[in-house]
Symmetry: C2
Subunit: 250 residues, 2 copies
């Protein structure tokens, strides 16, 4: 019977700039008694990717613009954080009261450009999203291969969404497999095309991984085992960003 | 080590109105060699819930309104289906070209009021969403209890979302546990509140389940085993529908 096994990788150290994440993950998994295997999907929380890549900013070094300053004051936010949110944004999607939804330079739509002021290792720091999460995932996949492991790598983050309360984890970077499973052109036994035409499996994998990682338990990596996947070396998450022309919720 | 096991339940018969879904699922799982266990989370695709509840409509019996007729003609759609989409809608959220995003009577925002013309057992039929998916989940949970099984039940459907291509499975009904895991008020080791304040675990469970169900493989039920959950008999998915006043993407 086909099925998935999903487990967190505990015991990772505090991640420092330059850390070799794939080596750390592989060794932590082994020490936890569940060594990584060929074909695993490794889901890594973006925050530790950012930390490894030095995407951490000292707030004291940021000069907020007048706009950032005024907005921060109005809603009791940190001016330097608002400044960073604006710098990381390509476009403000909505700014309603204290809620600031932006489109990041990557094209992802999320709150506060995905900037995280928590768990940054010290007061007065913020963690930005990785510069290019697909490239990060690609580097990790290549590094895992050097370690003898052919695995899919997903970089995940926690995003809100319209209409529904509660956040869910989504994929912001991928390497190794197509993020989308397409049913286009397939028909059911009665000749109808399926209503569901393309499933974003990468986002579903990120969500599944969150269930074992949790956001407070300091388990920033999870393994999904048992998923059949075909290698696709050109796959990336940018491909699932809807083009402006097709986007009716700009 | 904590972890999840997720597997589909194969071998279910074609679902007829009045079908006893919990009994069918329990028996199919046993026959497949993976009997249900205490504490399992059972994720059931809404389509078979609708079929069991007789939420299937013969298109020939539907008289389309002039508006439905004109819109269907313009975009080469079936007038009776458009008529049903409008009848199942509380509000049209967006109508852009052939894309019709509605708010259902339940309050869910999705394409075509969640109506499915595929796999309906015959040509010329449509499957509507369950009338009250929380109530369906509640009935199933109670029925599973009669069968000796204390399980969470989630009714899932496949929804698109803004900004990102590809659909994902979400929960539209739940019984047994709170759909949201809250981190509000918790702080990290440095005293910062977490950026992630509430995760919609129910949606993540629905997404995780989709990974083993697939939409074409005719496995409409999946089991998530190993999730720790606290019983909450008042839980429902309506609670995650964002109130209009807080909804900046109306």
């Amino acid at each position: 019977m086909s099925g998935l096994n999903i487990f967190g990788v505990p015991g990772l150290p505090e991640i420092e700039p330059g850390a070799d994440l794939p080596a750390l993950v592989a060794s932590a998994a082994s020490e936890a008694g569940q060594p990584l295997q060929q074909g695993d999907v490794i889901v890594i929380t973006s925050k530790i990717v950012s930390k490894a890549e030095g995407r951490t900013v000292e707030l004291a070094e940021i000069e907020p613009s007048p706009f950032a300053r005024r907005y921060a004051e109005q809603w009791e936010k940190e001016p330097a954080v608002i400044e960073l949110v604006l710098r990381e944004a390509k476009r403000i999607v909505r700014q309603v009261g204290p809620v600031l939804i932006t489109e990041t330079h990557h094209g992802f739509v999320c709150a506060n450009s995905g900037i995280d002021q928590s768990s940054s290792g010290a007061h007065g720091r913020a963690v930005l999203l990785p510069e290019d999460p697909d490239a990060s995932a690609r580097r990790f996949r290549d590094r895992f291969k050097e370690l003898g492991l052919d695995v899919v790598v997903i970089v995940s983050d926690t995003f809100g969404r319209p209409w529904r309360e509660g956040q869910t984890d989504v994929a912001i970077g991928i390497a190794g497999m197509d993020p989308v499973t397409s049913y286009i052109g397939q028909v059911d036994p009665h000749g109808h095309e399926f209503r569901v035409q393309a499933v974003c499996s990468a986002d579903e994998l990120a969500s599944a991984a969150e269930l074992v990682k949790g956001n407070v338990s300091r388990v920033p990596v999870a393994v999904v085992r048992g998923l059949p996947w075909e290698a696709d070396e050109d796959a990336n998450m940018r491909s699932i960003i809807r083009e402006s022309a097709n986007d009716i919720f700009r």
